[in-house]
């Protein structure tokens, strides 16, 4: 019985005749090799995640270790908080605007990189730099570019006669938001470009040729052939983009610290300000948890796509 099972499961019948030691017990070996990773993920991602939910229902300060249950009080407080309301709107605006810009730019850049021209490899290398450089260091470079006195952007606009007065990039809520979105788009469009490019490489060449032979124009080919075929990969890139953008803390924190007058806070930076700087862990956790629905939706869509790919095999 056991013998026949072994033969059926494994393509190497010789194994079945040997005495099975640990080194050969595939199921057991598999479990042993997987356990450390599972334990790490459960203990250091799963449990803290549960703790985040617990914290949001308690009055916890960074100073003491006590957790006292306060029910939905944290949520009730922040929902009435005008800073929080602003942060929700900012997060949505920041995410949607930058994802639209990133996607348009990525599809355009991928189409450029897909064509044959001299210097293509160099361009690809250079375009990837923003994504590869550490975010905190790149943000510092931009802080300096947007400097209130020495901004090279202001200088250039003035020289070309495009600017009358002066732009205080981090002194004005609208300008500060533009700056934050620009830096984020600069940083993430390379990543989206490479993903879209990988998707384009997977589109069979003969489809394009067939469209050409049928006399399809460039725009028609773009909208009726290429874009629909690119849709799955663009979805993947947008999903990652939404996660990276809606939860991003570094850029907002480094460029504006949520200022001026707390007008550019997103959920993550507000959670940091209240939870770490203000030492109110409970409220910080409650603010951060408002990102959860976004993540659940993204994860669900990803799982569905993965399943579809599996079925398609």
């Amino acid at each position: 019985m056991a013998l026949r099972k072994d033969v059926r499961v494994d393509a190497a019948p010789a194994v079945a005749f040997r005495h099975a030691t640990l080194a050969d017990r595939e199921d057991l070996l598999g479990r042993i090799m997987l356990t450390p990773a599972l334990v790490y993920v459960i203990v250091l991602v799963g449990l803290p995640f549960a703790l985040a939910i617990l914290l949001s229902f308690s009055a916890a300060s960074a100073g003491s270790l006590a957790l006292s249950w306060v029910g939905v009080e944290n949520f009730a407080t922040i929902i009435r908080d005008s800073q929080f309301q602003r942060a929700v709107l900012n997060t949505v605006f920041f995410t949607v605007t930058s994802q639209i810009l990133v996607t348009v730019m990525a599809v355009a850049a991928a189409n450029v990189l897909d064509a044959a021209f001299a210097g293509k490899r160099a361009m690809r290398f250079l375009i990837l730099l923003p994504w590869a450089a550490p975010v905190s260091l790149a943000s510092m470079a931009w802080t300096w570019i947007f400097d209130s006195t020495f901004s090279v952007i202001n200088w250039t606009l003035k020289v070309f006669g495009l600017l009358e007065g002066w732009l205080y990039w981090f002194g004005d809520p609208a300008l500060a938001m533009i700056a934050i979105i620009s830096v984020h788009v600069w940083r993430t469009f390379p990543f989206a470009t490479v993903i879209v490019l990988a998707g384009m490489a997977a589109i069979p060449q003969d489809i394009n040729e067939a469209a050409l032979i049928d006399g399809a124009s460039f725009w028609r080919k773009l909208f009726q052939v290429n874009l629909p075929l690119l849709l799955p990969i663009v979805t993947v890139s947008v999903l990652f983009g939404v996660v990276f953008t809606s939860t991003d803390l570094s850029i907002v924190w480094l460029l504006t610290r949520g200022g001026p007058y707390n007008s550019t806070h997103v959920l993550s930076s507000l959670a940091f300000q209240r939870g770490i700087m203000g030492a109110d862990l409970g409220q910080g956790a409650a603010i951060a948890l408002f990102l959860l629905p976004v993540l659940v939706i993204v994860a669900t869509v990803m799982l569905r796509m993965a399943r579809r790919a599996e079925v398609g095999v």
Binding site: G30, Y40, A132, A306, A309
Partner: protein, 287 residues
């Protein structure tokens, strides 16, 4: 006929224009780091209202003064050392945990392993924003705040899920026949892993090493949360947070630090990006 040639020429020009615009947009901040790092202060700190002084070029001979200050007068080297130490430990932990898990998911656990693999990968999507608050509590309880160990403990939470997923892909790409042949020759599964699979997976292990290390170098949020003393900081935290005296930014040295740190990481990362993307999108795109 001439019309078509004209269309082609216009397309060509459009292509090069688009390529140049994208490239300039991507590279401009790095060029700005470079200029700032080597400009003399009197060339650097000229208000942008002075339209006759062109900030885009060196108006005075370049200087090494800022770079010297960075190495001799700031804790930059200490931050590099801290980063290397934390990075090396995180890479080690990641390899020891993620490689076996990846192999197990690729070969030994069958159908439910695939589901579990996707589950592990999804934890990569749980962002620091949701976890830094509970972590700060955990780190406090363990007595680790303001030590490198806090980061050594926490960083594998994002390197392990991602690298397990990557390694799973690498192990899958090794032909099954090779392993089966070795087992027919009398090797046990464990011996096959050690003598046949690992040598074939060297490039995969190398990729994982590079990625885990660059992820550590790029991380900012956890470092900001857990580390408060200047001499314990990593590069990506120390440069933006501590290269300021009072309210005065030393922009020359600061940009030199950004340039010297980012460019090598960016170059190495660039060499491996395709594998990274392949790992990220497998499952969604077949192939």
């Amino acid at each position: 006929m001439r019309g078509r040639r004209l269309v082609r020429a216009v397309k060509r020009v459009g292509l090069y224009t688009a390529a140049s615009l994208f490239t300039i947009f991507a590279v401009f901040p790095f060029y700005w780091m470079f200029l700032t790092s080597f400009k003399q202060n009197r060339d650097l700190y000229v208000g942008a209202t002075n339209l006759r002084h062109i900030p885009w070029i060196f108006n005075e001979p370049p200087t090494l003064e800022h770079v010297q200050l960075l190495f001799a007068g700031t804790p930059y080297l200490i931050w590099l050392k801290n980063t290397a130490f934390i990075g090396a430990l995180v890479v080690l932990i990641t390899l020891v945990i993620a490689a076996p898990a990846g192999y197990s998911l690729a070969r030994l656990t069958g159908r439910w392993g695939e589901r579990l693999g996707i589950g592990i990968f999804l934890t990569y999507l749980v962002p620091p924003t949701l976890l830094f608050l509970p972590f700060s509590r955990v780190i406090n309880v363990l007595g680790l705040p303001n030590t490198p160990w806090a980061l050594v403990l926490v960083y594998p939470t994002f390197t392990i899920p991602f690298c397990t997923w990557l390694m799973m892909g690498f192990f899958r790409s090794i032909p099954r026949d090779i392993e089966e042949q070795a087992m027919i020759d009398g090797y046990s599964r464990l011996a096959v892993i050690g003598k046949v699979v690992l040598p074939l997976a060297v490039s995969g292990l190398l990729t994982v090493t590079i990625f885990a290390f660059t992820l550590v170098m790029q991380e900012f949020v956890y470092a900001l949360t857990f580390i408060s003393s200047v001499d314990k900081m990593t590069v990506s935290l120390g440069v933006p947070v501590a290269l300021v005296r009072g309210d005065v930014f030393y922009w020359g040295s600061l940009m030199a630090a950004c340039l010297i740190t980012s460019v090598p990481i960016a170059v190495v990362y660039n060499l491996f990006i395709d594998r990274f993307i392949a790992g990220l999108t497998s499952g969604a795109v077949k192939g």
